[in-house]
Amino acid sequence: MSEPNAAPGAANAAGAGQAVGQAGPPVVSVQEVTKEYRMGETIVHALRGVSLQVAAGELLAIMGPSGSGKSTLMHLMGCLDTPTAGQLFLDGVEVAGLDEERLAGIRNRKIGFVFQQFNLLARITVRENVMTPLMYGGAGPRERRERAEEALERVGLSDRLAHRPAELSGGQRQRVAIARALVTHPALILADEPTGALDTETGRAILELFAAICVEGKTVIVVTHDPQVAAFCGRRIRLRDGLMEE
C-alpha cells in the first residue's frame, strides 16, 4: 500500500492547471479509506485503502479504468456515500461518521458537483437551476437570485437566464452546471467526466474554465479516463483495483 504522494497541504503540481500554492490544511484529506459493497453473496472491495491530500487551488485528475474505484472515491469525497473504514476530512471537517442530514449540509456548503450528463433539472429555468443549491442552503429569494445571476455571469451565460436547459447547447449546459457548482462558493468542485459529452473544443473551454476557477483558490478534482483531460491538469493520480498508483 504505497503512498507516493503524501505531501499534505502542498500544491506540488504546476502544470497547465496553474495551481496556486497555498499554506494551510488540505481541502481534501483521505486517510486509509476502504469501501466495500455487498453484491448478492460476494463482497466487492471498491477501495482497498486509499490516502490522498488535495490542497486549495489544485486541479487534480483522478484516472483509472472502469471498476478501478475512481467513481467510488469521488462519491466518498463528495459526501454522497460514506467509507467502510478510514478517515475523510473535507475542509478540515471529519465527515466519515456523519448522518445523511449533516452530509447534505456539507455537500451544500463545501462541494460543487459537475457531471458528465450535466444533470440539470429540465422543468425549471437556467437561473432557477443555479438558485437551487442556495434554496437548500437557506438563502432568501433575493439573495438567491442575485448570486445565481452573478455565477452565470462568471461562466458567460448572463443572456440565458430564463431559458430551459433543453434550449441550450451541451457546452452551455455544462457552463450552467459549473455556475450551479460555484454559486455556494464551495471549497471543492468535483467533476465526473465533465467533458465526456462534449466535443474537443467545447471540452477544452470547460477545462480552461476549471483552471481559472483554481486560480481563484478553489480546488477542482476531475475524474476522467481521457488522457488529454488528465494532461491538462496540474496533478494526476491513477487508481487500479481499488489502490492508488501515481
Binding site: 456515500d81 447534505a104 455537500r107 451544500n108 433539472l121 422543468r123 425549471i124 443549491p133 434554496m135
Partner: protein, 398 residues
C-alpha cells in the same frame, strides 16, 4: 422553500396533465360530494321550511292506516269528525276527505287526471280557500247527496275556456263510473300544499262521493283547521292522543301537520346526508390511494432528479417536504376542482327543484381541510421513500 415546492409541483402537473387529471378524479368526486351534500341539504331544509310556512301552518291531517284491522277502520266515521271538534280543544273545523283521480268532461273539453275530492262544507274554512264565483258546497248538498260540483281554478279554465261554468254540467268518469254533476261554484287559485292540489281538483259533497262514485266503508282522511293563536304542534299531539285512545294502536293512523312533515323531511335529509357522506368518505379514501399511487410513480420516475437535488445539498427533510408539498398541492387542486363542480352541481339542482341556493362557507372550509388531510396522509409514505433514497444510487438511475 415552500413556495418553490408549490411552484415546482404545479410545473410537474402541467407537464403531466392527463395523468394528473386522472389521479385527481377520486378527490374531485369526494370533495364535489361534500360540497353538494352540505349545500343541497341546507337548501332543502330552507325550502321545506318555506313551503311548510306557505302551506297553512294551521292545518292538521289524520290518515287512517292502510294496515289497520277492519274493526279499527270502522271507527273512522264521518261522525268522528264532530267528536274531534268537540273533544279536542283548538280544533275549529273538521272535514272528512275522500280522494281519487277522474276524468272531467264538458262537451269536447276534457281535463285528465283531475283529483275529485269528497269533502264537507267546512273544507274551505280549513284551508282559507276562497270562491271566485258561485258558492262552495253546503251541508244540505251533502245531506241530500246532490250531484253538484265546485271546480278548482285550473279545471274550470280548461273545461269552460270561454263560457260561464255555473249552472252547466260536467261528467266525472273513469272505467265503469260516469256521472253528471252540476257546477255550483268555481274557486280562486291557490298553491297546492301538503299533498293537496287545489287548482287541479273538483270538489263534491262527501256523502255524494260515497253514494255515487265509490262506496266508502270508512273515512280515510280527516282535514282539520285549528283555531287562530293556538300552538298547532300541541293540538297535533292532542289529536294523536285522541286517536290512540280511540284505536288503542299508534300504527292504525297517522297524524300529519306541517311540523311532522318538516320532521320527516329532516329525517330523510339526514339519511341522505349520511349516505352521501359515506360516498364522499369512500371516494376520498379511494382518491387518496390514487394520489399515493401517482406519487409513488412520480418518486420512482424522478429518482434521478432526487439524486441531483441531494447532490446539491437537499437534506432528507427537504426532499420529504418537496414531495409532501406536491401531494398536498395535488389534492388541493383536486379539492378546488371538486368545489367548483359541487357548487355548479348544487346550483343546477336547486335551480331545477326551485329551491333557494344556499352555499355554506363552513363546507368550503371543510373541503379544503379534507383535501389537505388526504394529501398529507397519502403523501407521507411516498415522500418518506423519496427522502430515504441513497444519493449514489439515485444519481446512477437513468
Amino acid at each position: 422553500m415552500f413556495w418553490e415546492n408549490v411552484r415546482m409541483a404545479l410545473r410537474e402537473f402541467a407537464g403531466n396533465r392527463l395523468r394528473t387529471f386522472l389521479s385527481l378524479l377520486g378527490i374531485v368526486i369526494g370533495i364535489g360530494s361534500v360540497i353538494s351534500i352540505t349545500t343541497l341539504g341546507q337548501s332543502a331544509t330552507a325550502s321545506v321550511q318555506k313551503q311548510v310556512a306557505q302551506g297553512g301552518l294551521e292545518t292538521i291531517m289524520v290518515f287512517s292506516g292502510r294496515d289497520a284491522a277492519k274493526e279499527v277502520r270502522r271507527l273512522f266515521t264521518v261522525e268522528l269528525g264532530e267528536r274531534l271538534k268537540s273533544e279536542v280543544p283548538g280544533i275549529r273545523e273538521v272535514s272528512p276527505v275522500a280522494q281519487a283521480g277522474y276524468y272531467l268532461k264538458n262537451g269536447q273539453d276534457t281535463y285528465e287526471n283531475a283529483t275529485v275530492l269528497g269533502v264537507q262544507a267546512s273544507f274551505p274554512g280549513i284551508y282559507s280557500y276562497q270562491s271566485s264565483s258561485g258558492s262552495f258546497l253546503s251541508e244540505e248538498d251533502g245531506e241530500k247527496r246532490r250531484s253538484v260540483v265546485v271546480l278548482g281554478a285550473e279545471v274550470a279554465s280548461v273545461l269552460f275556456p270561454d263560457e260561464e261554468a255555473l249552472g252547466r254540467y260536467v261528467r266525472i268518469y273513469r272505467k265503469g263510473v260516469a256521472r253528471s254533476f252540476k257546477v255550483i261554484g268555481v274557486m280562486k287559485e291557490k298553491t297546492g300544499t301538503m299533498g293537496m292540489d287545489f287548482d287541479g281538483s273538483a270538489f263534491i259533497p262527501y256523502e255524494t262521493y260515497s253514494a255515487r262514485l265509490e262506496r266508502l266503508e270508512n273515512v280515510q282522511r280527516y282535514a282539520m283547521g285549528t283555531a287562530g293563536g293556538v300552538d298547532v304542534l300541541k293540538v297535533a299531539e292532542k289529536v294523536e292522543e285522541f286517536f290512540t285512545k280511540l284505536t288503542g294502536n299508534e300504527d292504525s293512523f297517522r297524524v300529519m301537520s306541517p311540523s311532522t312533515i318538516a320532521e320527516m323531511f329532516t329525517n330523510v335529509t339526514k339519511t341522505l346526508n349520511l349516505f352521501l357522506t359515506g360516498v364522499a368518505a369512500i371516494s376520498l379514501v379511494v382518491g387518496g390511494i390514487g394520489i399515493m399511487n401517482i406519487m409513488l410513480v412520480s418518486v420512482a420516475e424522478r429518482t434521478k432528479e432526487i439524486g441531483i437535488r441531494k447532490a446539491l445539498g437537499a437534506s432528507p427533510k427537504a426532499i420529504r417536504g418537496q414531495f409532501l408539498t406536491e401531494a398536498v398541492t395535488l389534492t388541493l387542486v383536486g379539492g378546488l376542482v371538486g368545489m367548483a363542480l359541487g357548487t355548479a352541481l348544487s346550483f343546477l339542482a336547486t335551480a331545477l327543484l326551485n329551491w333557494s341556493f344556499a352555499p355554506q362557507a363552513a363546507s368550503y372550509a371543510l373541503a379544503v381541510a379534507c383535501s389537505s388531510a388526504v394529501g398529507i396522509f397519502f403523501g407521507l409514505y411516498p415522500a418518506a421513500r423519496a427522502a430515504r433514497l441513497q444519493p449514489v444510487e439515485a444519481l446512477a438511475f437513468e
